[in-house]
Symmetry: C2
Subunit: 137 residues, 2 copies
């Protein structure tokens, strides 16, 4: 259906939320979930993915929570997509060649590959910083 996953939507919202809170501020998942209006449990999963990718960093224990792991100019939408959905594969043969019945005779692999690359470029072109500029002009 060429649709982004819900977890990605959660993640993107979370990152912009953290960005508006400022760099130093540590925010709990509960606060974010309540404020934004998401399920706390599920948002937590998204945050864990973002943390593993270095996009967010976490503070353990009481008074713990999440902060952005780096500057908003250094986080692109592509980073978030990669952190949450893993490497993109527009077509199945990108994941597993065996999953394609016509792999050896396929005419479209080249095109689909460059298409995916172009989409990737679009995502890399947007940093969280520039995204926030668009929101609050």
């Amino acid at each position: 259906m060429l649709q982004v996953s819900r977890k990605f939507e959660y993640g993107l919202h979370a990152v912009t939320y953290l960005a508006t809170k400022g760099q130093g501020r540590v925010v709990t998942v509960k606060e974010m979930a309540d404020d934004i209006g998401f399920s706390q449990e599920f948002l937590s999963k998204a945050m864990q993915s973002l943390k593993r990718a270095g996009i967010a960093s976490s503070v353990q224990g009481v008074k713990g929570g999440y902060t952005l792991g780096r500057a908003t100019t250094e986080i692109t939408v592509a980073d978030i997509a990669l952190a949450i959905e893993g490497k993109p594969h527009l077509v199945r043969c990108g994941v597993k060649a065996e999953s394609c019945e016509v792999f050896s005779s396929c005419h479209h692999r080249g095109y689909m590959g460059t298409l995916q690359h172009k989409i990737q470029d679009l995502l890399e072109d947007t940093t969280i910083y520039s995204l926030l500029q668009q929101i609050v002009p």
Copy 2:
């Protein structure tokens, strides 16, 4: 996962297959399925979608089958995607505003909208004709 559906892959293969067979030639689903290596039943579904969109046209009865509905220069990858997957909705709120918990306060709708538009443009830029050129230089 931002992946194209299998039915779309079937459809794209079918269209290029028909294109290489030449305009007039009527081809049965069975022939295509055997030649390409797809399930006949499922490919048939894809063809029906393509037909409804005018991309393919069908001939009923014995000696029936499918042909391309118009010139390869007049069929884009976007046309095939639309025929088979329907209108694209990168995010859920495009389908149903209610499916988004934060619709009213959402910061990303604008960006996701233009992103979707750009992807759409990429798909519209490729005609079957140009796709075939890439394959057989």
